[in-house]
C-alpha cells in the first residue's frame, strides 16, 4: 500500500499498464518531456522512451484521430487532451469514428483507446480551462465515460479503461488532483467500469454525483445529519454505462433523489438520471427528484466560479426542499 493523491494514482496506473503491456502508448501535448502540465505522466518518457511516450503537435482532432488509427492497428493508445475545454475539435473524431467503428464494421474492428482529460472547475483556472461536458460524450452512442473521485478509484478505473477493448473517455476532476491522499494497493488492480459506489449509506434521501461533486455531497450529508436527515451518497464513477440498478435500489429504499452535477443544467446527465427514476421508480418516490447543477451559462472567469458550481449550501437546501416537500 502507498499513500498517494489522484495525480500519483493515475501516474501509477500508467506505469503499471505500460510495464504490463507493450502495446500501451501515451501521447498528447506536453506529456513526454514536460511530463504533463499536471505531472500526470511523470517518469514515463524516461522509463519507456519516445517510441511509446510521445509529445504530439498541438492539435486535438489530430491526437484523437491518430489514436484511433493506432488503436485500429492494435495498439492501446492513452491520449491526453490537456483540458476538457479544448476537447471540442476532437469530438468529431470521437463521435464519427471512435464510437462507431465496432458497430459499423459489425465487430470486425474495435478501438481500444483511452482519452484522458482533466476537467471541471474550482481551481481558479483561465477561461476555457474549467468546462465539464461529460453529458455530451455520454450522449454519443458507443463511448464509455469514466470519472473517478478518489485516488484508489482513479488507478483501478484507469487500469480497467486501458484494458477495455472499446473507447473510454477518462475524465479527471482537477479540483481533486491534489485535494487529498489515500492508501492504494501497489501493482495491478481494477475497478469495474459501469459500477457505482455507495460512499455512505442512509435512509431518507439518495444523493447521486460524480467527480468533484462527491466531497461536497458528503459535506452536505454530514451537515443535514445534524438535522436528523440520513443521506445515502452514491458516487457514479461511470456516467456511461450508467449503473441504474445501484441508484434505483437506493431510491426504492429512501424514496427521494437528488442529482448533483457541476455541468450546466439543461440536458445534463442529471436529467437522464431523473428521467429514468421517474420512468421506473415513480411509485417509490415520495417527492419529485431534484437537481443541484451548474447554470446554463458558459463557465465564468474565476471571480464568479464559486457561483457557477453547486456548493454545499445549495445542496443542503435541495435536501431540505425534498424532505419538506
Amino acid at each position: 500500500m502507498t499513500e498517494v493523491n489522484m495525480v500519483g494514482a493515475i501516474n501509477d496506473a500508467l506505469h503499471n499498464e505500460m510495464e504490463d503491456d507493450e502495446d500501451v502508448m501515451v501521447l498528447g501535448e506536453d506529456v513526454a518531456e514536460n511530463e504533463g502540465v499536471f505531472r500526470v505522466t511523470e517518469g514515463l518518457l524516461d522509463k519507456f522512451g519516445e517510441k511509446r511516450v510521445r509529445d504530439t503537435p498541438l492539435a486535438e482532432s489530430g491526437i484523437v484521430g491518430v489514436s484511433i488509427g493506432l488503436a485500429l492497428y492494435g495498439m492501446k493508445p492513452v491520449a491526453e487532451i490537456q483540458f476538457m475545454g479544448f476537447m471540442w475539435p476532437a469530438v468529431d473524431q470521437l463521435s464519427s469514428h471512435a464510437s462507431r467503428y465496432r458497430n459499423r464494421s459489425l465487430g470486425q474492428y474495435n478501438v481500444p483507446m483511452v482519452l484522458r482529460s482533466p476537467y471541471g472547475g474550482g481551481v481558479k483556472a483561465l477561461e476555457h480551462h474549467s468546462e465539464s461536458f461529460e453529458s455530451v460524450l455520454a450522449h454519443i452512442p458507443g463511448l464509455k465515460v469514466v470519472i473517478p473521485s478518489t485516488p484508489k478509484d482513479a488507478k483501478g478505473l484507469l487500469i480497467s479503461s486501458i484494458r477495455d477493448p472499446d473507447p473510454v473517455v477518462f475524465l479527471e476532476p482537477k479540483k481533486l488532483y491534489r485535494a487529498f491522499k489515500q492508501e492504494i494497493p501497489d501493482g495491478s488492480y481494477t475497478e469495474e467500469i459501469g459500477k457505482a459506489n455507495v460512499v455512505k449509506e442512509g435512509e431518507d434521501i439518495t444523493l447521486v454525483g460524480w467527480g468533484a461533486m462527491i466531497p461536497k455531497i458528503v459535506k452536505a450529508a454530514d451537515h443535514v445529519a445534524d438535522e436528523g436527515v440520513s443521506v445515502e451518497v452514491i458516487d457514479l464513477r461511470t456516467i456511461y454505462p450508467y449503473d441504474e440498478e445501484t441508484v434505483h435500489e437506493s431510491v426504492r429504499k429512501t424514496g427521494r433523489l437528488i442529482v448533483v452535477q457541476e455541468a450546466p443544467r439543461t440536458l445534463g446527465f442529471a436529467s437522464e438520471i431523473v428521467a429514468r427514476a421517474v420512468d421506473k421508480e415513480m411509485l417509490s418516490l415520495k417527492s419529485p427528484p431534484l437537481r443541484a447543477t451548474g447554470f446554463d451559462v458558459p463557465f465564468p472567469l474565476y471571480k464568479m466560479e464559486d457561483w457557477a458550481i453547486p456548493d454545499v449550501d445549495r445542496i443542503v437546501k435541495k435536501i431540505r426542499e425534498a424532505i419538506e416537500w
Binding site: 492539435a59 489530430g62 495498439m75 464519427s96 469514428h97 464494421s105 470486425q108 474492428y109 458507443g142 454505462p241
Partner: protein
C-alpha cells in the same frame, strides 16, 4: 535590404500518356499481363459504377458517389500497392476497393443501406469507407505509426478528395505525418469539384501537391487521368515510405465526369464545354489507344471483358439484393464488446414493438436528388 516575399513554386505535372494515348515521357517497364490487368480493373470499375447509377435511378440503391472519370487515379494508385499495404479510403474509391479484393456486392450492399457492406474479407488490408470528409487522414497516420513502431512490413495509402484539403484533419493529419515521419502516402484525387464548389474556390494555392512542402515532405503533381503516370508516381511514393523516408503527398488531377452523388445535379453549376473537354481526356479512352497501339487491346478482347464484367456485375447485384434481412440484434450487438444492460433493454423493446406493431407508416421511396 528589402523584404523578400517567398513565392511557392507549383510543381510541373507528371504525365506519361497524353489525352490521345501518345507517349510523352519515358515508357515504364510494365509487362503485358499487368497492363491488361490495369485496363480490366478500370473498365470493370466503370461498368460497376454505371450499373450502380442504373440501380439508383430504378430505386434499388440509395445515394452513392459515382467514380466515372477517376478510374485511372484509383487503379493506378492501388495497383502500385502490395497486399501487405493498407488502404484507408474516403467514399469515392470503388475502383481501388475492387482491385484490393473487396467483392462488388459489398459495395452495392453498403449503398443499398446495408451495414454488412462494410465487411472487409479476411486478409484484405482495407478500412471501411469514411464519409465525413478528411477524418480518415489522421487514422492513416496512426496506422502508419503503428507499423513503424512495431517495425512491421507494409505502408499506408490514404485517399481523399480536393475538398478534404480544406479540412482541419487534412492539416493535422499531414502535420502529424511529417513530424512522426510515418510510412504513409497521402493521395488526393483532385476531381476539381467539391459538390458545386470549384477548385479555385477551395484553395488559393496553385496546386495541392505544393502544400506538402509546408509539412516537410515532397509532393507529386500527376495527371490523374493517366494510369501509367499515377502508377509510377504512387510506386515512387510507396517506395519512399517503405525505405523509411517518410510521407509523400500525391495530387492526381482528374475530373468527376458524373455527379457528386446521385442526389446532385451538376448542370446547375458547371458548363457543357468543361464536361466535353474532360470527356476528351477520359482515362479509359487514352489507355485503350495506348494498348491498341501496342497490339494488346483488340475488339475481341474488349468483347471478352464486356462479357466478364456483365457476369460479375449481375452476380453482385443478385447477391446484394438477395442478402437476408437484418436481425434486430445487428443494430445493437456490436456497440461494445459486452452489451450494457440498458442497451439490452432497448434492443428487447424494439423487438417487442416490431412483433406487436399495429400501425404501418408509408415507406420512403428512393428518388433522384434529396427530397
Amino acid at each position: 535590404m528589402g523584404v523578400e516575399l517567398d513565392k511557392p513554386e507549383s510543381p510541373e505535372i507528371f504525365r506519361i500518356l497524353d489525352k490521345d494515348g501518345e507517349l510523352v515521357n519515358e515508357e515504364p517497364d510494365i509487362d503485358e499481363d499487368r497492363l491488361k490487368e490495369m485496363y480490366w480493373w478500370m473498365f470493370y470499375a466503370r461498368k460497376a459504377d454505371e450499373k450502380a447509377l442504373k440501380l439508383q435511378r430504378q430505386g434499388r440503391m440509395g445515394t452513392f458517389a459515382p467514380i466515372e472519370g477517376q478510374e485511372a487515379a484509383q487503379i493506378g494508385a492501388s495497383m502500385a500497392m502490395e497486399d501487405k499495404d493498407w488502404l484507408v479510403p474516403a467514399f469515392r474509391e470503388l475502383g481501388a476497393y475492387l482491385l484490393r479484393g473487396i467483392p462488388l456486392e459489398r459495395n452495392y450492399e453498403y449503398f443499398m443501406g446495408d451495414v454488412r457492406g462494410n465487411k472487409i474479407p479476411k486478409g484484405v488490408n482495407n478500412f471501411p469507407i469514411a464519409v465525413p470528409v478528411a477524418t480518415q487522414i489522421p487514422h492513416a497516420v496512426g496506422i502508419a505509426w503503428g507499423i513503424k513502431r512495431n517495425e512491421d512490413d507494409g505502408v499506408v495509402l490514404c485517399i481523399f478528395g480536393d475538398g478534404a484539403t480544406s479540412e482541419g484533419d487534412f492539416h493535422e493529419g499531414l502535420n502529424f505525418g511529417g513530424v512522426l515521419n510515418v510510412p504513409a502516402v497521402f493521395f488526393c484525387q483532385n476531381n476539381q469539384w467539391a459538390i458545386s464548389v470549384p477548385f479555385e474556390k477551395q484553395t488559393a494555392s496553385d496546386t495541392i501537391a505544393q502544400k506538402a512542402h509546408a509539412y516537410g515532405f515532397p509532393g507529386i503533381y500527376v495527371d490523374g487521368n493517366d494510369v501509367l503516370a499515377v502508377h509510377e508516381a504512387t510506386k515512387t511514393a510507396l517506395e519512399r515510405a517503405r525505405n523509411g523516408e517518410g510521407p509523400t503527398l500525391i495530387e492526381a488531377l482528374t475530373y468527376r465526369l458524373s455527379m457528386h452523388t446521385t442526389a446532385d445535379d451538376p448542370t446547375r453549376y458547371r458548363t457543357e464545354e468543361e464536361l466535353k473537354e474532360w470527356e476528351e481526356k477520359d482515362p479509359l479512352k487514352r489507355f485503350r489507344i495506348y494498348l491498341s497501339d501496342k497490339g494488346i487491346w483488340t475488339e475481341d478482347w474488349q468483347q471478352e471483358l464486356e462479357k466478364k464484367a456483365k457476369e460479375k456485375i449481375d452476380e453482385a447485384v443478385e447477391a446484394a439484393e438477395s442478402i437476408e434481412e437484418h436481425s434486430v440484434e445487428e443494430m445493437f450487438e456490436h456497440m461494445f464488446d459486452e452489451l450494457p444492460k440498458d442497451l439490452k433493454e432497448q434492443m428487447e423493446y424494439l423487438k417487442r414493438s416490431l412483433e406487436e406493431k399495429e400501425i404501418e407508416e408509408e415507406k420512403v421511396e428512393i428518388k433522384e436528388g434529396f427530397p
